[in-house]
């Protein structure tokens, strides 16, 4: 049983439930809390919410598998990656090759020169 909070006007809040087990705090019918988040190192999940597992596809190439599927793939992916000292790195979603799905999203961690990195820590939050 899930409880949801929903706001009907302005920035007020309401609570409701959809039975999926995912808490939904809403404003004007849109969820305002993260629907999934994870901190992971390789395939090891350090802490998470609504993330079943991390698949390591290769160095710097990961699939985040959700415990409960989303209604569509139009969610927001927010995240950062660690990097070695002195290196500039970023986290990206390879939309052309692996677009997000309702059950999982692929993310890659890369240096600015385009090479993949295997970071010690990656943080991701999903909003929808």
């Amino acid at each position: 049983m899930t409880t949801t909070i929903n706001a009907v006007s302005g920035n007020n809040l309401q609570v409701s439930a959809d039975g999926s087990g995912i808490i939904q705090l809403q404003s004007n019918g849109k969820n305002t809390n993260a629907q999934a988040w994870v901190n992971f190192s390789g395939s090891t999940v350090n802490a998470s919410y609504n993330v079943g597992s991390i698949t390591v596809n290769g160095t710097g190439d990961f699939t985040v598998n959700f415990s409960n599927a989303f209604p569509d793939a139009n969610y927001v992916i927010s995240g950062t990656t660690g990097a070695s000292s002195g290196q500039l790195a970023c986290l990206t979603q390879p939309a052309g090759s692996y677009p997000p799905s309702t059950t999982a999203c692929r993310v890659q961690t890369i240096y600015v020169n385009g090479s993949f990195i295997g970071p010690t820590n990656v943080s991701i939050a999903i909003f929808r």
């Binding site: 409880t3 007020n12 609570v15 404003s27 927010s78 990206t92 890369i110 939050a125």
Partner: protein
């Protein structure tokens, strides 16, 4: 302690424009809700899904303005933007504009630019993901 179940219709903060806070048993704030989020197409600014975002203005290749439905109380909010790849340019990175490049964030909107990591040239991601916290 026992865990209770919250069964109510509305939670309303006591001050206009001030979000409801979540606190632990000691009264320490442990989080607030996302104030705005959007998933949009990088080639056009067309929104696929959003909350508290009325529109995304496509200013030109790799240049966007996210416009809020309800303005924030000030411009000191935290912005996170993650661009996806695109079909031809490989990896992209996003930078939020400040007063030196474009327009600094305001209570009603913020600008950012997406560039190719390897060259620094502006480019459109397939998808752009942005969140705002305050």
């Amino acid at each position: 302690m026992t865990y209770g179940t919250l069964a109510i219709d509305t939670i309303q903060s006591s001050t206009t424009g001030t979000p409801t806070q979540f606190q632990d048993g000691s009264g320490t704030q442990i989080g607030t809700l996302c104030r705005a989020w959007v998933n949009f197409a990088g080639a056009s600014g067309t929104r696929n899904a959003s909350f508290n975002v009325s529109s995304v203005t496509y200013n030109g290749t790799g240049s966007y303005t996210v416009n809020f439905t309800n303005a924030l109380s000030d411009a000191n909010y935290a912005i996170s933007v993650n661009p996806s790849t695109n079909a031809s340019n490989g990896y992209l990175i996003a930078t939020v504009n400040d007063a030196n490049i474009g327009t600094a964030p305001t209570t009603s909107a913020f600008q950012f630019t997406t560039r190719v990591v390897s060259s620094g040239a502006n480019a459109n991601p397939t998808y752009v993901y942005a969140t705002v916290f305050r």
